[in-house]
Amino acid sequence: MEDGMELERKIARLFFTIRQFKPRWLPGKSIRISINSDPVYLRVLRAAMDEIAALAGFSRKECAKIILAVDEACSNVIRHAYHDVAGQPIYITCRITPIKLEIVIVDLGEPADIKSIKPRPLDELRPGGLGVHIIRTVMDEVHYENLAKIGNRLIMAKFLPREEGAL
């Protein structure tokens, strides 16, 4: 119960902070999913993202890439923001606008040094260092924010496919 209270306090602070930072979604107008920082839940998120991306009109192939980008982003939250400690919240918000699918990922972990979030050079072969490259390749907009003492927010978006024959 104790850490439930602590978490609630953190969440209250989060809402306050996010408001200062300008809200990125309206509740009820978007799909929100929150999982905790245990990798076992990533497959739940992937299943939901697949349907969300399909609803937005992306092809099977593009859906697969979007799933991958979201999965990589949440894996990074688990490993780098929460240092592999399970039970911490990750908030994923998806919004389909007329022009893009927007995905916002918020965590309450260690605020990142934004400059250090970068892929390894691809020709330097070593395990790791590929997630950020994948995210940046798949998504059209990628924007990391350090939410002061609270945690982090990653805002990413991909433009919807143009309809055949549309302008």
Binding site: P39, V40, L42, R43, R46, K61, A64, K65, I67, L68, D71, E72, S75, I78, R79, L122, L125, R126, P127, G128, L130, G131, H133, I134, T137, V138
Partner: protein, 114 residues
């Protein structure tokens, strides 16, 4: 729910068959299996991804680690059976030029064994 792994010896080649999603949750299990097989001198490894439904960068990291051990030990390693979604992540990360990728198991086996 977790990964299913099968290892089979075919001549001098160890063939690892993977079934399921390789992600941050399941890749440690794959890593353990692969590290068992790559540390002999002249190790020969074929990784069959034909039943892999999803793979993320933690899965790639595991394969890269295997390849590095194999190279250090003068062995040989190939991967085979990539479905479209799996092929995609190899291309996205340009690892399709780093790994020896074969469309079918028999050709792959021939090359790895030789």
């Amino acid at each position: 729910m977790s990964l299913q792994l099968s290892t089979e010896q075919r001549g001098n080649v160890a063939v690892v068959g993977i079934t399921g999603d390789v992600d941050l949750y399941s890749s440690p299990q794959l890593r353990k299996e692969i590290l068992k097989l790559v540390n002999a001198r002249d190790a020969r490894l074929l990784v069959d991804l034909g039943k892999v439904t999803y793979m993320d960068s933690s899965g790639l990291a595991t394969l890269i680690e295997g390849l590095q051990h194999i190279n250090r030990n003068n062995g040989r390693m190939a991967v085979t059976g990539l479905r479209d979604a799996v092929k995609e992540i190899f291309e996205l990360t340009r690892l399709d030029t780093v790994f020896s990728i074969y469309p079918d198991t028999e050709t792959a086996l021939e090359w790895v064994a030789s």
